[in-house]
Every structure is written in structure tokens, then in C-alpha cells.
């Protein structure tokens, strides 16, 4: 999802760039005497085409997140964590990272869209692994925890020992296009927040005792939603 949304954002910026530079070129061309109307016509066609392209991108993004179209089931968060960690198996080997699962058997099912939750976890785990990418030697462990916080809520946490969050950025990291990576587009955590909030949950970040960052998200348990 991180990569997917990143490429969607990129795809959206491309037609916007085409539209702006074409429109600004046209403004200059019509000021010429005589104006080259054939050139302006070609430009307008490109602008129409780019506009359609942008609309398609937004449609796809909406398709990913549309409420009501998501498929909500009672899901075992522990099972989802295990599935995502398994999915990342080869990545962890390549990046020489150890993922430790500390899963609370007492967590109750949540009412959630499996694909969307997997995407949130995937984003958080990939971020955690990337945060430690420049750590030479030493600890390269990511810890994923689930906890039954109360009878009504489950908290999932992803803890890394990378360089940690920059001071004062705990909120900012969830803003769209906020990134500290060379290649990221800063959409991963923004999308994670959108998904978690659509599930009536909450996501937040804090510094941890290993010097890294921990991302938590709290979801209501399925029975609690029905009440």
C-alpha cells in the first residue's frame, strides 16, 4: 500500500504538472500576434487528456478507501500480524532485520477490512525496517505487539530502534507528503491514519526506550462496535 499510494500520488502530480505548464504556455502563445491557434488547440487537447488522467487516479484512490465498499469481518488481529510478518519474510532477511512478535492471546476480534489492516501493518513494518536501514551493527529488531487494552479495545504496536522521530514531529508524520526518506512520497502514514480512523480507531506515534519510534493503533473490538 505504501508503494501503491506513493505511485498514485506521483501519478496525480504528473497530469497536474502537464496541465499547468501547458496552460501557462497557452497564455503566452495567445498573446503573440498572430496567435498560433493550432498550437493552442493541441495544448487544450492535452489538458483535457491530463484532466481525465487525474480523475482516473482519484477514482482508483477512492476505490481503495471507499467506506461501505470495504469488506468488514470479525478478524483476529494476531492472525493478521502473523500473515503480514510472514509476507515480509524475504525483506527482513535482505535487510538483516529481526521481527519479534509479542502477541496477546486475549485480544478479541475486531470488525475490520482485512486488506486495509494488512496495508496499515505493512506500512508500519516497512517504515520500521527502513528506519533502521542505516544502523550499522547493533540492534536491528522490530517488535510487533498486540494487547487487549480493555474489554473493548485492542492496541497494536510496532516498535523500532532506528534514529527515532525528530522532536515535535509526532503529529506531522501522519500528514500527507510528510517524509524523511530519500525515495518516499510521504503517503504511507497518512493512508494508515485514514484507514484506522475509518475503523473508528486511533493511531499515534511516540519515542521508545530503545531510542527508536513506536507506532500504536487502537481498534474497538467487534462486540464493542455493535453496542
Amino acid at each position: 500500500m505504501g508503494e501503491l499510494t506513493a505511485s498514485l500520488a506521483h501519478e496525480l502530480n504528473q497530469p497536474l504538472t502537464g496541465i499547468l505548464s501547458n496552460a501557462q504556455a497557452a497564455l503566452r502563445i495567445i498573446d503573440a500576434d498572430p496567435p498560433d491557434l493550432a498550437a493552442v488547440r493541441a495544448i487544450l487537447r492535452d489538458i483535457v487528456e491530463d484532466d481525465r488522467r487525474a480523475a482516473d487516479v482519484i477514482d482508483r484512490l477512492r476505490g481503495l478507501l471507499r467506506k461501505g465498499e470495504s469488506e468488514m469481518y470479525h478478524l483476529d488481529l494476531n492472525a493478521i500480524v502473523r500473515a503480514v510478518v510472514k509476507l515480509l519474510g524475504s525483506d527482513t532477511v535482505i535487510r538483516n532485520v529481526t521481527v519479534v512478535m509479542d502477541l496477546d492471546a486475549a485480544v478479541r476480534p475486531v470488525n475490520a477490512d482485512r486488506v486495509q489492516l494488512e496495508q496499515v501493518l505493512l506500512n508500519l513494518l516497512l517504515n520500521a525496517m527502513e528506519a533502521m536501514a542505516e544502523q550499522v551493527g547493533g540492534d536491528r529488531t522490530v517488535i510487533v505487539r498486540t494487547r487487549a487494552e480493555t474489554d473493548a479495545a485492542v492496541v497494536t504496536s510496532v516498535e523500532d530502534c532506528g534514529p527515532g522521530l525528530r522532536r515535535g514531529t509526532q503529529q506531522m508524520v501522519f500528514e500527507p507528503f510528510y517524509t524523511t526518506k530519500k525515495t518516499g512520497l510521504g503517503m504511507g502514514l497518512a493512508i494508515a491514519r485514514t484507514i484506522i480512523e475509518a475503523h473508528r480507531g486511533k493511531i499515534w506515534a511516540e519515542a521508545n526506550s530503545r531510542g527508536g519510534a513506536t507506532f500504536h493503533f487502537r481498534l474497538p473490538v467487534a462486540a464493542a462496535i455493535r453496542q
Binding site: 504528473q14 504538472t17 502537464g18 505548464s21 488522467r53
Partner: protein, 139 residues
């Protein structure tokens, strides 16, 4: 003295962005050549005259930053203006330290782009004239 026309090179993988920038720069009076990839650009013979490159950061294959690094490493001191789809401060800082003229975010506004290309071409004209008089003196 022969008058050599400056060229603005545009490297971006997106055809629509290429056409838009090409038209805009032409409408402002520049001679422009566009390329769909770093590879295509590197295959073009070196232009003997003032020049600058408008370079997309994110492209499939070799990205803009890598292309710039390669140009610098091979001694081709062409002024580079980066254009990028997202604000990425560390990359921008790195690019500016490596000698980029500017780092503009997409969608690129004409005033910014034309300001940066004007500056880049002026800077490169001085470089080129110095090189040429050095060559002429040697010949």
C-alpha cells in the same frame, strides 16, 4: 564571433509533462530538447554551447539525482534544475549541495521555472565563454 544558441534540455519520463514543459520553454523563447530517460539524454552528443537541464527526480531506471551525480562525476558541469513531485527536504538539500541551480516542486510554476532556467543559462554562458576563450588561446 559565431553566436551559439543556448539549449534547455528537459528529462522527464512523462510524455505530457515533457510536452507541457517543452511548449512553455519554447513560448518563452528557449530552444528546447526533451528526453524520456536519463539514458536517452546521455546518448545525445555533448552540446558545445550554453545549456542547462531540467531534470525529473523520480524516473523509472536512473533517477534525476543519480543522473546529476553521474554528470558531475564525468566532469560535465551542466547546471541542473530539479523538478519533483513531492517536497523531500533531505533530497533537495543533497541536490543543492551537489551544485543544483534549483529544486522546484511539481506542478512547476512558469515564473519559477523560467527564472531558474534564465539563471542557469546565464551561469553556463559564462562557463562556456571562459572555456572557449581558453580553447581559442590554446589553438
Amino acid at each position: 564571433m559565431t553566436r551559439v544558441e543556448p539549449i534547455v534540455f528537459v528529462v522527464d519520463d512523462d510524455p505530457s509533462v515533457r510536452r507541457g514543459l517543452d511548449r512553455l520553454l519554447r513560448a518563452a523563447g528557449h530552444r528546447v530538447e526533451t528526453f524520456a530517460s536519463a539514458k536517452e539524454f546521455l546518448e545525445r552528443s555533448e552540446h558545445d554551447g550554453p545549456q542547462c537541464v531540467v531534470l525529473d527526480v523520480r524516473m523509472p531506471g536512473q533517477g534525476g539525482i543519480e543522473l546529476h551525480d553521474q554528470l558531475v562525476a564525468s566532469g560535465r558541469d551542466i547546471p541542473v534544475i530539479f523538478i519533483t513531485g513531492h517536497t523531500d527536504v533531505p533530497t533537495a538539500v543533497r541536490a543543492m549541495k551537489a551544485g543544483a541551480v534549483d529544486f522546484l516542486s511539481k506542478p512547476v510554476d512558469d515564473a519559477e521555472l523560467l527564472g531558474a532556467t534564465g539563471l542557469a543559462l546565464e551561469r553556463d554562458r559564462r562557463r562556456w565563454e571562459a572555456e572557449r576563450s581558453f580553447r581559442d588561446a590554446g589553438a
